[in-house]
C-alpha cells in the first residue's frame, strides 16, 4: 500500500500543484501519466537520463540546458512537483489568468518568467549575466564544428554588442528582455497542453 500511495497522485498534491502552476486537474493527471511513463526507474522521480530519452530533447543542441532547467541546483532527481513547476513556464497565457492572479503573485507562465526561463538556458553559471564565454559555448552547441573559432567569437561579440546597453560586455536579464521585446514570446514559448 505504501508504494501505491507514493506512485498515485494525491488529491492534496494535485490541489497544491494546481495552485502553484495553474494547470487544470485533467492536465495534471495527464502530465502525471506522462511523467510515470518517462520514469523508467519507477521511483517517482526523473533523472537526466530519463529526459534524454525524449527524442526532441536528445536532438536539441540546447537540450542539455533545458534538462538542466528541470533540476534544482545540485540535485540529480526531479519529482513531479518540480517537473510541473518547470512545465508551468510553458503554459499559454490566458486572459483570465491576469485578472485572477494579479493580487497573489506573478504566475509562472508570465512573459517575464518565460523569458527568465529562456535566459537561464544561456546563463550557464547562474550569475544572471550571459557572458561572452557562455554565449560561445551555446553557439558551439548550436552550429557544431562548421564555423571556425574566431568567426564564432565575432558572432558572440556582435551579439553582445547589439544587446549590451550598460557596457559590461555581457547580457543582463533586462537587456535580454529588451532584445526580445518584439519577439512573440508569449506565443512561442507556449505549449498547448491537452485538457
Amino acid at each position: 500500500m505504501g508504494s501505491r500511495a507514493s506512485t498515485l497522485l494525491r488529491e492534496e498534491e494535485i490541489e497544491e500543484i494546481k495552485k502553484e502552476t495553474g494547470f487544470s486537474h485533467s492536465q495534471i493527471t495527464r502530465l502525471y501519466s506522462r511523467f510515470t511513463s518517462l520514469d523508467k526507474g519507477e521511483n517517482g522521480t526523473l533523472s537526466r537520463e530519463d529526459f534524454q530519452r525524449i527524442p526532441e530533447l536528445a536532438i536539441n543542441p540546447l537540450g542539455d540546458r533545458i534538462i538542466n532547467a528541470f533540476f534544482p541546483e545540485a540535485e540529480d532527481q526531479v519529482n513531479f512537483r518540480g517537473f510541473m513547476r518547470t512545465l508551468a513556464h510553458f503554459r499559454p497565457i490566458e486572459d483570465n489568468d491576469k485578472s485572477k492572479n494579479v493580487a497573489v503573485s506573478e504566475p509562472l507562465n508570465s512573459r517575464t518568467n518565460k523569458l527568465l526561463f529562456a535566459f537561464r538556458l544561456y546563463d550557464l553559471d547562474r550569475d544572471d549575466k550571459i557572458s561572452r564565454d557562455e554565449l560561445l559555448q551555446v553557439l558551439r552547441m548550436m552550429v557544431g564544428v562548421n564555423i571556425s573559432d574566431e568567426q564564432l567569437g565575432s558572432i558572440a561579440d556582435r551579439t553582445i554588442q547589439e544587446a549590451d546597453t550598460n557596457g559590461d560586455n555581457s547580457i543582463s536579464f533586462s537587456e535580454f528582455i529588451k532584445v526580445l521585446e518584439k519577439v512573440d514570446v508569449e506565443q512561442k514559448m507556449s505549449i498547448r497542453f491537452l485538457h
Binding site: S3, A5, L8, R10, E11, H25, S26, T29, R30, Y32, S33, R34, F35, T36, S37, Q52, E56, A58, I59, N60, P61, D64, I67, N68, E106, T112, L116, A118, L124, D125, D127, D128, S131, D133, L136, Q137, R140, M142, V143, G144, V145, N146, I147, Q151, S154, I155, T159, E162, A163, D164, T165, N166, G167, D168, F173, S174, I177, V179, V183, K188
Partner: protein
Amino acid sequence: MGVDIGLEFEGDEDEVSTFQEEHERERHRAKISDGDRERRKRGNGRRKRASRAEEWEGESQARPERRERGRRKRTRSDQEAKGSDRDEEVQPKTKSGKSAKTRKHIKNEKTRKMEEEEGEGEERHAKRKKKHGSAKKEEREEDGGKRTAKEKAQEVKRKKHKKVVETSSEPSEEDDNDEEDNEEREVRPESLSSEELEKLKEAVDERKKLIQTLRGKPWPMKKKCVTLRESQEFVEKYEGALGKGKGRKLYAYKVMMNKKWMKFQRDFENFKTACIPWEMKIKEIESHFGSSVASYFIFLRWMYGINMILFCLTFGLVMVPEALMGRPYGTIPRKTVPRPEATSAMDFAVLWDFGGYAQYSVLFYGYYNNQRAIGWLKFRMPLSYFLVGVGTVAYSYMVVIRTMARNANESGVGDDNSFNFNWKTFTSWDYLIGNPEMADNKFASITTSFKEAILEEQESRKDDNIHLTRFLRVLANFLVLCCLAGSGYLIYFVVRRSQKFALDGLDNHTWWERNEVNMVMSLLGMFCPMLFDVISALENYHPRVALQWQLGRIFALFLGNLYTFIIALMDEINLKREEEQIIKFNITMWEASLYNGTVSVNSTAPAITIQPADVPRGPCWETMVGQEFVRLIISDTMTTYITLLIGDFLRAVLVRFLNYCWCWDLEAGFPSYSEFDVSGNVLGLIFNQGMIWMGAFYAPCLPALNVLRLHVSMYLQCWAVMCCNVPQERVFKASGSNNFYMAMLLVILFLSTLPAIYTIVTIPPSFDCGPFSGKKRMFDVIQETLESDFPAWFGKVFSYASNPGLVLPFILLMVLAIYYLQSTSKSYKEANVELKKKLQTQNEENKKKKKLAALKAQMDLEEARKASSQTAKQQKNSNASQQDQESDEEEDHSSSQRLHHGKNGRHAPPPVREQEGQLPATRAPVPRSYQHEHHGAPGYLPGFPRQSEPRMHRVPSLQRH
C-alpha cells in the same frame, strides 16, 4: 467529507468501494427525489428555476451527513431498477453525432449520468471493477466536501432541466430550449461563481480523462484491459450523447462544421505548401548551400512555370488542332516526306537531327497548311498560329515585367534588424524538431545563416584603402573590357573568314577551318569566365555584387555567341531564299511541261497520278530555322548534362575514392569538390530561354522540349548539388528578389524577339509551306481576317485607329506618363531612405546615451563602495568569487558530457567533443570576473555576490505590473 477523502486514500479497497457505492446511491436518490418534484413542478414557469437552484444548493449542503447515514440501507434492487430506467433515457441521446467538446456545459451533466450508469453496471460485476470505479471516485472527490455538495446541487438542477427537455414533445418548447439554456447559463454565476463552475466542469470532464490515462497506473494488465474497454464504450456514449432537440442539434452541427472548416483550412494550407513543386528540395538545398544557390533553383522553378504556360499555348492552340483537324499526313506535298529522302526518313540519325518524319510533322512550321479554316470547328489555323506566336512573346514580356515590379516592391520594405545576431542566437532553433534528419538540416541552416550574417557584417564594416580599391576596380574593368573587345574582334574575324570559306565551298577546307566558329565560341565560353573570375578578385566587392558583375560580364561575352548565331542564320536564310527563287521558276516550268506532256499524250486524263512525295518543293527556310533552334537546344542540353556528370559527379567520385591512395589530400588540396557555379548556370538558363523565344515561332515544339529539359535538369541538378558539390567558401545571402536575373532575362527577351519580329515583318514567307504560304507577308493574315470575318465598320475603325496621327500622340502620352510615375517613385524612395537613416541614427544615439549613463552610475557606485569597504572584506570576496568560478567550470564539463550522452548515434558528437574539450582551456573566465569586480558591474556586487540574483529578477516584473 474531507476526512472521507483521506480515508479513501489510506484505507483498503473494500472501504473504498463501499464508499463509492454510497456515493452512487446518494446521487440516485438525489435524482429520484428531484425527478419527483420536478414532475410536479413542470407546469410552472421556467423563470423560477434559477432561484430554485440556490435553494437546492443550500439544501444539499445540509444534506450529506443525512445521506451518508441512510445510504447503506438502500437496497441494490432499487438501484438496478433505476439504472435500467435511465438506460432507456440515454439511448436516444446516443444518436446525435459525435460533437464538439466546447459544449461542456451541456455535456457535463450527461457525462455524470453515464458515469453513474457505469458505476451501477460495475456493481453487478466483480470487485475488480469496483477498484476502477474507485479510481474514478478519487477524481470525483477531489474538490473537497463543500464543492461536492454544490456540484450535486448543480447537477440535480441540470437533470431536472433535462427532463423537461426530454419529455416535452412540442416543437415550440424544443426550440426555445437553447434560449433557456443560455438564460440559465447567464443566471448561474449568481448562484455559483465562475471559478467553481469551471472546476465543476473540469471535475466532470476529468473522469473521462482518467480512464484514458489509466496506462500509467500501476495496476494488473487484466484490469487495465477491462478499464480500456469500458472507457471506449463510455467515450462512444459520451460523444454521441450531445445534442438533443432541434436547436441543440443545429448548434452542435454548427460547432462541428466550424471545427471541420478550421481543420480543412489548416489542411488546405499544408496542402498548398505541399503543392508548391520542389519546395522541400529547394529548402534542403538552401539549408546546406545558402540562399544564393537556392536562388538559382527558385529561378529555374519560375522558368519552368513560364515554359509550362507557353507549352500549353502552343500545344493547345496550334499543334493539337492541326494534328486532329488538319489534313492528315501524306495528303499534300508539304505534309509528305519527299521521295529522295523517304528511304532514310525513319533512320535514327536523321530523326535525331530532326530531319525525315520529324521535319514533316506538326513539330515544325512547314507542315502547317494555309487553309483558312480547318475541321468542323472552322478553326482559323493560320490566324491562331500567328496570334499564338505574338501571344507567346507578349505574355513573356508581361510576366517578366510584372515579376520585376513585384520584386521591387518587396525589396523596398526593410525590416528592423538591430538585434539580428541576438535573434539568430536566441531564437533560431525549432524546439519541436524530433527527427534526426530534420535536425541535421536545421543545424546546417543555422550554420549557413550565421555564415551569411558574418559575411554581411564583415562587408559592411570593411574600410580598406579607398583609393587602392578604386584603382583596382578601374583596372579590373579595363582588363575585362580588353578581354571582351578582344573576344568580340575574334568572333567577328572568325565569322568573316567562315563566310569567305562558305563562298569558296566547304569541301576545299580542313576540319578546323570548317568548324572554326563553333570551336572559337566554345573556347571563349570556357575560358573567359575563368579569366573574369580571376580579375574580379582584384575588385574586392561584396560577393553578391561580385556575382552580379560576373553575370554581367559573361552576359556580354555570350551576346557575341548570340550575334554570330543570328548572323549565320541570316546568311542561310538569304541563301535559301535565292534557292527558292530558282526552284519556284523551275516548278512553273515543270508544271507547264507536265501539263503540256499530259495534254500531248492523253487529252482526257488529267495528271492525278503524281504522288505528293514527287512534287518538287522549295527549301522552306522557316522549317530550317526551326530545325536549327531545336538542334541547338538539344546539343546545349546534352552539353550541360554531360559536363554536370563529368565535371561534378565524376570528379567527386574520383576525389572521394582516389583519396585513399594518393600522395596528397585530394579533398582539401587541388582538385577538391566543385562548388555550384551559380553565374554559369543562371546564364545558361537565360540564354536557353532566349533561344526558345526566338525559335518558338518556327518550331512550335520548342516550349515542349524546354519543359522537358527544365524538368530533368531540376532533378538532376538538385541531386548533383546535394551529392557532389560543396558549399561555397563565402556563403552570402542572395537578395530574395533576384531582380538582377530578371533584368537580364528581359534584355535577352528583347534581343531575341528582335530578330524574330524582323523576319516575320520583312521576309516574305515561303511559297509552298507553312500557314502563311501564298501571302506577301505573314501579318497579312490579320488583315485577311478583318476583311472576311468581321463586319465592314470594324475594319474601318481599325484603319482609323492605326492612323499615325492617332498612334503618335498616344505613344507620346504614354511616355509622359511613364516619366511622371518614374520621378514620383524616385522621390518616394529617397524619402524612405532618409527616414530609415534618421531612425537608425536615433536608435544609436539612444543606445550611446544609455551606455554613458550606465557607465557613470557605475563609477559613482564604485567610488562610494571603495570609500566604505575594508581591505579584509575584499580579500574574502575575491576568494569567494574564485571558488564560484571553479564550480562553474566543473559544471560546464559535466554538462558537455551530458550533451554527448544525449546525442549518441549521430555523427556530430566527436568533433563537438573535441571542441568542447578545448573550450574550457581557451576561455578565461577568472580574469573576467576580476574585471567585473574592479568595474563594479551592476548585479554582481562584491559585497554580496548572491544578492543580485533576486533583484535582477524582480526588476522587470515590477515594471510589468
